[in-house]
Symmetry: C2
């Protein structure tokens, strides 16, 4: 396919989505909910063709030597398909944010200004080979009155085609136009670039995946992008910490699920909390965590003779390991912890453990991140844990939506002004 044909193919899908978005944008919640339930049913009805397509994807991924951790994300099972269907049903239960009046302003000249929540229009999702994102993103977008253009990783292409076919079959009996869910079935990288530069058609781009994917999207997009998910997160254990809490929080933040963005990557410890260090390092190592520390950490641990750890470099502090590895730095005061986070953090999730209220308030106020915790694990930065009932990603940028993004974060607003002939 030539570049021109590729461009035409991608833009035609985005334009079809835009047309569908106009219908969908003013559709009552009831009609949207019925369509979502029909989509869920249709996934189950078409499970055999979905599993067959997925098996092909998995077979080819194995042949191509894709690592097993990535293949694990790709594999669809009955349980995983049911989870996706359950996800759609949960979205149905959530209130529809579209049409909500956010603010009413009455002006002295009699103009009545209403700020009303509206859908974005067309949302493009750029993601890797996780077929569950295909269904989640479609469900969240449709519920909020948005059409969606999906571009998943090429290893999941057959699975995504089968999932989208099934969802569209479900839409066929509903009032939502089929065209509201579009899948870019081209694997060329250029297809992404065309989509994220289609400023007149696409209203919002959400990249979901590793740092490389997100960086590429940001560098090439003309459409506004919500940056998600890279989390170099810290826990700072203060001299005035309750060390039982500190131990529980640190173990949870590092080991409960190390591969996710809200897991801790660097532990900052006040020098007066040195006595607590050998115990926590021992507990971490026991759970299979490789610990790297600054000179001061090594000195403190050296006194205990038995704990041997490697040296943490600048690069360690800048790395989101997403693995059972932890960097430790000893600091002399809360300000130093805040400065370290300012320098190396990715504005995602940061925590302080202390019983000193003044230190806590300073940290909460001054740390620049989407979510700042006092005496709790960074792992709570999550749409479900925040009670949003759904999540399309966690934003680490400050424009529009920050932190976990649920239904409301998939909407914009407009001003509706009612007059009686007013002029200036």
């Amino acid at each position: 396919m030539s570049q021109i044909e590729l461009k035409e193919t991608v833009l035609a899908k985005a334009q079809a989505a835009k047309k569908a978005a106009r219908v969908l944008g003013v559709m009552p919640a009831d009609d949207k909910n019925k369509a979502l339930l029909a989509m869920a049913e249709s996934l189950w009805k078409n499970r055999e063709s979905i599993f067959a397509a997925n098996a092909e994807d998995v077979r080819e991924a194995r042949e191509n030597g894709i690592p097993e951790t990535r293949i694990d994300r790709l594999v669809l099972t009955e349980k995983r398909l049911q989870d996706m269907m359950e996800g759609l049903r949960q979205i149905v239960e959530l209130a529809d944010p579209v049409g909500e009046t956010l603010e009413t302003i009455e002006r002295p000249n009699g103009l009545l200004i209403e700020k009303v929540r509206v859908p974005f229009g067309v949302i493009a999702m750029i993601y890797e080979s996780r077929p569950n994102v295909t269904v989640d993103a479609a469900g969240l977008a449709l519920k909020t009155g948005n059409a969606v253009v999906l571009r998943g990783g090429k290893e999941a292409l057959r699975s995504n085609i089968a999932l989208v076919d099934a969802m569209r079959e479900g839409l066929a009996g509903s009032r939502i136009p089929l065209e509201a869910v579009q899948l870019i079935d081209r694997t060329e990288r250029e297809s992404v670039d065309i989509l994220i530069r289609a400023k007149d058609v696409v209203d919002l781009v959400i990249p979901r995946g590793g740092a490389g994917l997100i960086q590429r999207v940001i560098e090439n997009a003309l459409v506004p992008v919500i940056e998600t998910g890279v989390g170099n997160c810290h826990v700072y254990v203060d001299e005035a910490a309750d060390f039982d809490k500190a131990t529980r929080i640190v173990l949870n933040a590092k080991t409960q699920r190390p591969s996710v963005c809200n897991a801790m990557e660097t532990l900052l410890v006040h020098e007066q909390a040195g006595k607590w260090l050998p115990g926590i390092v021992y507990a971490l190592q026991e759970r299979g965590v490789e610990v790297r520390g600054c000179r001061k950490t090594q000195e403190i641990l050296g006194e205990t003779q038995c704990l041997d750890i490697s040296f943490a470099t600048e690069e360690d502090y800048a790395t989101e390991y997403l693995d059972l590895i932890l960097a430790i730095k000893v600091v002399s005061k809360v300000e130093e912890a805040i400065e370290h986070i300012e320098r190396y953090g990715t504005r995602h999730s940061e925590a302080i453990v202390t019983e000193n209220q003044a230190a806590a308030e300073k940290f909460l106020a001054e740390v620049d991140a989407a979510a700042v915790y006092h005496n709790a694990s960074t792992r709570f930065t999550d749409g479900f844990e925040f009670g949003f009932g759904a999540e399309i990603g966690i934003s680490t940028q400050k424009l529009h939506a920050r932190g976990p993004m649920g239904l409301r974060e998939l909407t914009s607003y407009k001003y509706i002004i009612r007059g009686t002939g007013q002029t200036r």
Copy 2:
């Protein structure tokens, strides 16, 4: 200056702003207000050097053949300086949005999640040769706890240096660090590119100026951009219009200030409202408006013999004239008006004039624009007219802030989570 030196110079200023932003971000409103008043006083105290610098800028602009309309924007007078000072004093009177709790969520596990309004951090303003933007932007940014990096047009460089020097002299006696206001005094276009790509230092870019400037910024920025100000705005006069209202609104929207973004550029008229057309065209022409119309418009006017207008092309409909020129199109129903706006509008301000409530509601719901009016002039899309008390621009994008942007739109939010040792 080499490219490397230029980059170092620009980044050093942005980094100094970032450092100042940390102090400014948690500063009480009182301290910020005192600093803003001191800035206003200092502008007056330094008026002679400001006027001298401005006179040099104006002289050079004339020598370089800059058109008088642009020179008019560049000229500073006592009245204009006083207006800027008054602008700063008005900003002092407005409530400080920073620190506001937007939402409180109590979770079953006892976590207390607060969504709190915070400054962006460092805002970069890219604008043309209007020295008043220098003072307005600095005032709005500081009030909302943001540091600002200003990059104005090169014709106003001397004026901007004098204004920023005066403002900083005012800051010297305040608690706001001088470094919170930075001026990029390099005129190379690359200085803009360096600034808008400094993703780790700058939190937000606001371009203000013509379509060319805004497009360039969007294409080159890595920092999130709020797109402002391009307005190809329409008024649709329905068959069920109150034609007195229609006449007043159309004349106001086109002629009260044709050079601004919320002025009307195309008039859409229902074919059943044809009888009203000759009168409005006559009234517009009397006010110096050049009218261009579709075939149908010409037919209707042709019957009156005396009104001769030129043909409106596709290009006319796509143009933001910003001048006393108007395109007219006759449509057969409200849907056709909505489609025309969908195709040619820039999502800024759109109006319907009708007494038919159903047609009005359809238009208000379906038209995708920052501000949609029923029976009022598009000219009201403005921070002051909306009662925001201030305005840094009018956003035509849907991310974060849409429509007139006041103080609140210069803030983001973060989640502050208070726990008692919770883990997942």
